[in-house]
């Protein structure tokens, strides 16, 4: 039997410990501050090529307090003086910017954020680490990994009706459970995988960590080649081989229906119909899961020419997404429908600014986590797709996009 894609990239078999050169490393304003502090405490010289290190501000952009501004200023000054790649407030979410032509198939990509598994959509090994691990990577340009066991997920068929990649992601998480893939790789393949766009794959890989997975990965195919070609990259395709998996799961995309994951577990997904009518105070469209162009376009297609009934916050995932959606009139449609459009970044997902919930308030969110108090003390988070979010915004209560459309 040959190796899984993750084993191929890491150069080892499941269970082995390997040292691997890191092709790209990135931090954001949240973890970057601690990374810099740890790096300085180590008292070593940067051994990694600064061109391979990115510092991307997204967590609280622009700064909400003087303290945040001070922390960001220190990191900004260091980043620029060290010659690292830098994206300031307004550029967008680190995972999205890395997905705009920075991550290539076969690379080892490490980010100081749990959702760094997003980049596996390009056939890269992409995973999250903590700040001090990242400081050691800045120092040496490499790190150690335990090569994970791989769970093979074969996708068949095609998404239909109002079902989206987010519904597939919630379905997989509900199937595996919040710890069901801990320490493992999730490898997607099959004819159904070929039907998914790069934005779909980014959404699915993004949520891999919600099962405890180390990484999630798709093979780089013609869809990936076309996407990266737009950024000037020519890539070789990765051909799936006959490998043995730690566990295998088969999913027929035709069976996927719109889901909602009620508080406080990401693996609690249920058909929207079960929760229809639940009143909400706020709708959030955005984050590293669902703040991409296609998400904004789909949402705008539903609310265009109508008025949202509850406060609706739209956070484009990056400046490129915001520009694209502005030029196509999507942003004008969203504003005309009564939505608030805020600076590209993480927005209120982690409860810092731009839409923190009050005690007992309910938010239908396209984000990836509905943990207790995450968006504000006493706030309740229901996770769903952009289409479900749009239908819900128009009705003021959880609404099945299948029914509304």
């Amino acid at each position: 039997m040959s190796q899984t894609l993750t084993e191929r990239i890491l150069g080892g078999s499941a269970g082995e410990y390997v040292d691997r050169r890191v092709d790209r490393a990135y931090v954001h304003d949240g973890t970057g501050v601690l990374t810099l502090e740890a790096f300085r405490s180590m008292g070593v010289q940067a051994g990694m090529d600064p061109e391979k290190i990115s510092v991307l501000f997204d967590h609280i952009c622009p700064a909400n307090t003087g303290l945040t501004a001070d922390l960001q200023r220190e990191l900004r000054q260091y980043t620029c003086s060290a010659g690292m790649k830098f994206s300031d407030c307004g550029g967008g979410i680190c995972h999205q910017i890395m997905s705009e032509g920075c991550i290539l198939p076969g690379e080892v990509v490490v980010g100081a954020d749990s959702h760094s598994c997003t980049g596996g959509a390009f056939g890269a090994f992409a995973t999250g680490v903590g700040a001090t691990d990242m400081a050691a990577i800045w120092a040496s340009g490499e790190t150690w990994f335990r090569v994970p066991e791989t769970i093979g997920i074969t996708l068949e068929g095609r998404l239909s009706g109002a079902a989206e990649a987010k519904d597939l992601a919630l379905s997989i998480i509900s199937h595996l459970g919040m710890e069901g893939a801990t320490y493992c790789a999730l490898e997607y393949r099959g004819e159904g995988a070929a039907t998914l766009s790069m934005e779909d794959r980014l959404c699915i890989c993004n949520m891999g960590v919600e099962t405890g997975a180390k990484n999630a990965i798709f093979y780089a195919d013609a869809v990936c080649r076309e996407y990266l070609g737009r950024y000037g990259h020519e890539i070789d395709l990765q051909i799936p081989s006959d490998c043995s998996y730690h566990r295998e799961v088969t999913i027929d995309l035709d069976d996927i229906v719109p889901l909602v994951a009620p508080p406080h577990r990401v693996d609690s997904g249920r058909p929207v119909a079960d929760l229809a009518g639940t009143e909400v105070d706020q709708v959030l469209l955005g984050t590293c899961t669902n703040g991409r162009y296609s998400d904004l376009k789909r949402f705008a297609g539903i609310v265009r020419g109508r008025q949202v009934k509850v406060r609706t916050i739209v956070v484009p995932a990056s400046r490129d997404v915001l520009l694209h959606a502005t030029r196509d009139g999507i942003i004008a449609d969203l504003i005309a429908a009564g939505c608030m459009v805020v600076t590209p970044g993480c927005g209120p997902c982690l409860g810092m600014h731009n839409g923190v919930l009050g005690d007992g308030e309910v938010c239908l969110s396209t984000a990836n986590r509905n943990f207790k108090n995450r968006m504000g003390v006493g706030g309740l988070i229901y996770l769903a797709s952009p289409s479900t979010a749009a239908a819900t915004a128009l009705e003021g209560c959880i609404t099945d996009p299948e029914v509304q459309v």
Binding site: Y17, G30, T31, V33, L34, E37, A38, S41, M42, G43, V44, I60, T65, L67, T68, L71, A112, D113, S114, S116, G128, V129, G130, A131, T132, D133, A135, A136, A139, W144, R146, M178, E179, T182, Y183, G212, K214, R265, L350, G351, M352, R369, F371, K372, N373, R374, V377
Partner: protein, 155 residues
């Protein structure tokens, strides 16, 4: 030998529950220790000095925030035991010098626990449990007191 009294917690304790996002924007570590587990049980922070946390499965799931193991250490936690840790938390804990041990044990709040890292044994009252050994690299990092001091030793 690491000794302490057990503080027992349930499964799926995420890093938001260990230290909430609203306390992250500072470099003052004492803030994290003071607010540890605030959204789970505000009385916990005051009971963690010298404690060994015995948690359910999937401890530390969620965000990569290293403030989570630092908050536990700042509050006085001397080790965490769980049948299954979320992987980024596990790595982060070792990197900040907090012993984390994979073992499934039965105990109650206040039980005295003794951990022998070299022998791979945890003792609760008269019962002995084994735990999954750390990789040699992780053990070296933990013995150095964390990854920063491990690297200082190399510099």
């Amino acid at each position: 030998m690491i000794t302490g009294q057990a503080v027992c917690l349930g499964p799926d304790i995420d890093t938001d529950l260990i230290i909430a996002g609203r306390y992250l924007r500072t470099k003052d570590r004492s803030v994290w220790g003071a607010h540890v587990f605030e959204d789970l049980d505000p009385s916990l922070a005051g009971r963690l000095s010298g404690a060994i946390i015995v948690a359910g499965r999937n401890f530390g799931c969620g965000s990569s925030r290293e403030q989570a193991p630092v908050a536990l250490r700042e509050a006085g936690v001397v080790a965490v035991i769980s049948p299954l840790f979320a992987r980024i938390f596990f790595r982060n804990a070792i990197n900040v010098g907090l012993p984390v041990l994979e073992a499934d044990l039965t105990c109650r709040d206040g039980d005295q626990i003794a951990i022998n890292l070299n022998e791979g044994v945890i003792e609760v009252a008269e019962t002995r449990y084994s735990f999954t050994p750390l990789s040699p690299r992780m053990r070296d990092i933990l013995d150095a007191g964390g990854l920063v001091t491990y690297w200082r030793g190399k510099a």
